[in-house]
Amino acid sequence: MSLLQVKNLRVEFPTRRGTLVALDDVSFDIAPGEVLGVVGESGAGKSMTGAAIIGLLEPPGRIAKGEILLEGRRIDNLPYEQMRRIRGREIGAIFQDPLTTLNPLYTIGRQLVETMTTHLPITPAEAREKAIGWLELVGIPAARERIDSYPHEFSGGMRQRVVIALALCAEPKLIVADEPTTALDVSIQAQVIAMLKTLAREKGTAMMLVTHDMGVIAETADRVAVMYAGRIAEIGPVREVVRQARHPYSQGLMGSIPPLDRRVERLQQIDGAMPRLTAIPKGCAYNPRCPKVFSRCAVERPELMDAGTTRAACWLYAEGQS
């Protein structure tokens, strides 16, 4: 059974100019231990999906339709207190900027201990020992000495390691990592992502890895979901999507990554920009930019459909569908 199931998720923001649909009809599963990469341009709804899963959508955003199930149990409509017990314990989260995600007034040890004592039946003393263990696991040198340091005494990369330890320390089954390396130095990104991947694998933790960096996805993910304008454009095994994307948008996205094995004259680029949420075109949201657009695209909105080894929301693959 899937660990996480997201079914037809729709997130809306009521605003003065009517309701904005930030996510629409988003469906995907994550299996235990699996890493699902989520890519797309800024504003495509990647982070919003993550926030909806951990139940921390910023008001006035709200889930208008659909379900989120964790191990078959619905979690999108739980009361705050029950959802709180799931956050951290069942679903951990990693945020983007390690400089702002740690409370500056508490030592990292205290922040780790309070997370563990909140969720696990252990004493503070035991939690402290485990905290040292976690700091070692995420690669903080001299963890025993540094556990009583404050966040400002660490560099950005080290702080993100602490954040990862905080996300993992109550041993959740799923981690929602929202751009976990974007704010870091390029030289450190690879180290941190490799550490995260290894740890997830060792602990058998599944992960939803939100990023706009296709390189990170290709390195880390098992499957990948490509998002565009609040919907999933394509989802499939990472190798398939990277090598042979089916959706014209994913093809464009993959074409913009410089390949290492051959020289290309010019990287591809996608003309135009993603529509704003206030002005999503009728039919397929990508149709004004799509090189393969045809009449149907501007009229009807495509659902995800089988497209060889992946599933794509594109009328090009409509044959064979009922």
């Binding site: 705050y80 951990g92 945020f95 995600t101 500056p104 007034l105 400002h152 005494e153 996300a167």
Partner: protein, 326 residues
């Protein structure tokens, strides 16, 4: 820690120096002290004697140094208006003002902080809206008008509480206290509320806005994502971070209580330093004004120092020298 305190004291010195300079300038150049002290008829010899006596024939820096030396010993000369030593006048009035200010500060903090936390946490509850409306009315009401309204209600109409004075005081050495008699406490109620109300609303609004600011930060979102209890997030993480800016501004505000006491003391004819000061301003009694100025500066510098120390205790980022590098 020690070097921190020393550096803060060193920073405070220029403030005291500038204030002394202003006080001295007032003392030496505003009005003609000799004429005021001699009154109507005097001979030229008397005048010269007094000039020599007061050291007014000395060069500026000598005069200033003498002034500073006297000031450090609490010596500010004679009041023009009352012909008594200024230090004596102030020492007589200080307990009244300090008791009033401390009571007002206590009311402001004990009520203002919890109200601010509540309105910051539950932004949309009807009680929060009520508190906010109340606070807006509070900052829009001038202190003297609050006093007048309280007197009108509780003294003139209801006749419950006295409208002026300190009631009976108990002498404890040179200190006179109104805390130990029923009439002293009754006399303290209205002035303390009047003086504290404005600070209360300010502190409440300040705590509220800081709380809301902090609740939006990433580390609070991350604390929520870690599944910490609301209590731990609101009162552990959020409140502590809120305190950092609140300490500074609340400190300054509480210092302001001493100054606002001028108004409250006038309305209630409270026999404190503020009333003395306002009477001195009206009579251009420079020695009292100069001494009061320096005293207020000293109070503020002390409060600032305490604020800095609290800051130091709360915020680890200030404790430099502990960092072990990156």
């Amino acid at each position: 820690m020690f070097s921190f305190i020393v550096s803060r004291i060193l920073q405070a010195l220029p403030v005291m120096f500038v204030v002394s300079l202003i006080s001295f300038a007032m003392f030496a150049y505003v009005g003609d002290p000799v004429a005021i002290m001699l009154g109507q008829d005097f001979t030229e010899a008397q005048r010269e004697a007094l000039v020599r006596d007061l050291g007014l024939d000395q060069p500026f820096f000598v005069q200033f140094a003498t002034f500073l030396g006297n000031a450090v010993q609490g010596e500010f000369g004679l009041s023009y208006r009352l012909s008594r030593p200024v230090a004596e006048l102030i020492a007589e009035r200080a307990p009244a003002t300090l008791e009033l200010a401390l009571t007002a500060a206590f009311i402001a903090l004990m009520i203002g902080v919890p109200m601010g936390v509540y309105t910051g946490l539950y932004r949309n509850s009807w009680l929060s809206r009520f508190f906010l409306t109340f606070s807006l009315v509070g900052v829009s009401l001038p202190t003297f008008l609050i006093g007048i309204l309280l007197i009108l209600t509780f003294s003139v109409w209801l006749g419950w509480l006295p409208s002026f004075g300190r009631g009976d005081v108990t002498r404890l050495g040179w200190w006179s206290s109104g805390f130990f008699t029923w009439s002293g406490i009754k006399a303290l109620i209205l002035p303390a509320i009047t003086l504290g109300l404005f600070q209360l609303t300010l502190i409440m609004r300040l705590v509220r806005s800081e709380m809301m600011e902090v609740l939006r930060t990433d580390y609070i979102k991350f604390a929520r994502a870690r599944g910490l209890s609301n209590r731990a997030i609101n009162f552990g993480h959020a409140l502590k971070n809120t305190l950092v800016p609140v300490i500074t501004i609340a400190g300054l505000q509480l210092g302001g209580i001493i100054a606002f006491a001028i108004v409250t003391e006038t309305v209630f004819q409270w026999p404190g330093m503020g009333l003395l000061f306002i009477q001195s301003v009206g009579a251009a009694d420079i020695p009292v004004m100069a001494a009061y100025l320096m005293l207020i500066a000293l109070v503020f510098v002390t409060i600032n120092l305490i604020v800095d120390l609290l800051y130091y205790a709360v915020d680890p980022r200030l404790r430099v020298g502990r960092g072990k590098g990156h």
